[in-house]
Symmetry: C2
Subunit: 168 residues, 2 copies
DNA sequence: TTAAATTCCAACGCTTTGGTTGGATAATAC
DNA sequence: GTATTATCCAACCAAAGCGTTGGAATTTAA
């Protein structure tokens, strides 16, 4: 908390006045970051008929905001309950419903259960940032170079298409 | 450290005698767990001509030993250098070479760069255990029921085939 | 049986961390 | 002007964590 306050250019007492305690600060930030991701997708992502680029947009968001994945991993490693679980579950269920609809009308292939497809696509986009040390060991590059980053993005786009595009 | 010693049924001082300090304990355990995964794959996993089942075996290992993913995530979240990076890099490079060979001889499709394919398949198998809270919110199940677990496995197997199987 | 290890236990020192408090200082409102 | 509010600063507290130490007890070796 002292370090956060210092980086924020305020002092510790302010943090506690604004957010109450560490847990609530974490919750506030995580919820806000998740909302920003959703907004960014609403603005930038195409429809599900272009599932590759849709997933590429998730990748882009994580590339520019690597904090979010760190927050999610931390939440998963911690013992306690998840932050705001009911609302987040509802949000994901709406996404799953969208995917199910797209499978029904033939926009996406229906090889995979829609919920599991959503989960896998999120993973596809986020995995690079979840284990950067592993990505470095496997690919031999740390992913900061812009060429490597766009290669990784292309690979995510292509993989998403393999998983979900119609293949008649 | 006190909790670890207690769970191990010994006392703290033993831990320090055996492993030196916390960092070296972490390194020792991570290296050992990675070796166990490699051994398990050597015993159980089929060749790359059955890439789905190969990835399914990675999934199985993680399902039975969820500690390993937690160690990897922790390593990634921490600031310091990765554990034993040179040896691990060499190991992954050998795996990548195997995949490249399988792409060359037509066992696997060559749509994706082999290193990136290896990385994605690892993610495919590990992602379910990396963010259990997310998997719960998206799928509505916590994955402990054996039916849900085998559905997830089947989904990983199928996805791996989509990504890497030959599709003439 | 005696000597040398190994292990256990409890306490200790030191640092980090989450969180609070008391009062000085600045900004804002009336 | 004064009164109120917000901010800063520094110190403080209590708990937890890493690592050590000084024996006591137990096992092993000679």
């Amino acid at each position: 908390m002292a370090r956060i306050a210092s980086l924020a250019g305020i002092n510790k007492e302010r943090l506690y006045n604004y957010f109450g305690d560490k847990r609530r600060l974490f919750e506030t930030v995580l919820i806000e970051e998740l909302e920003k991701l959703a907004i960014s997708l609403g603005v930038n992502a195409p429809g599900l008929e272009n599932i590759g680029e849709y997933t590429g947009c998730i990748f882009d968001y994580h590339a520019e905001h690597p904090q979010l994945v760190r927050l999610l991993l931390w939440e998963g490693l911690a013992e306690g309950p998840a932050v705001n679980e009911a609302a987040r579950t509802a949000h994901y269920q709406r996404t799953v419903a969208m995917f199910a609809e797209a499978q029904r009308d033939g926009t996406l292939n229906d090889d995979l259960d829609p919920a599991k497809l959503v989960f896998l696509l999120i993973g596809l986009a986020a995995w690079w940032f979840a284990v950067p040390q592993l990505s470095r060991m496997v690919t031999g590059s740390d992913g900061s170079a812009s060429t490597e980053r766009s290669l990784r993005r292309a690979c995510v786009v292509s993989a998403a298409q393999h998983l979900a595009s119609r293949h008649p």
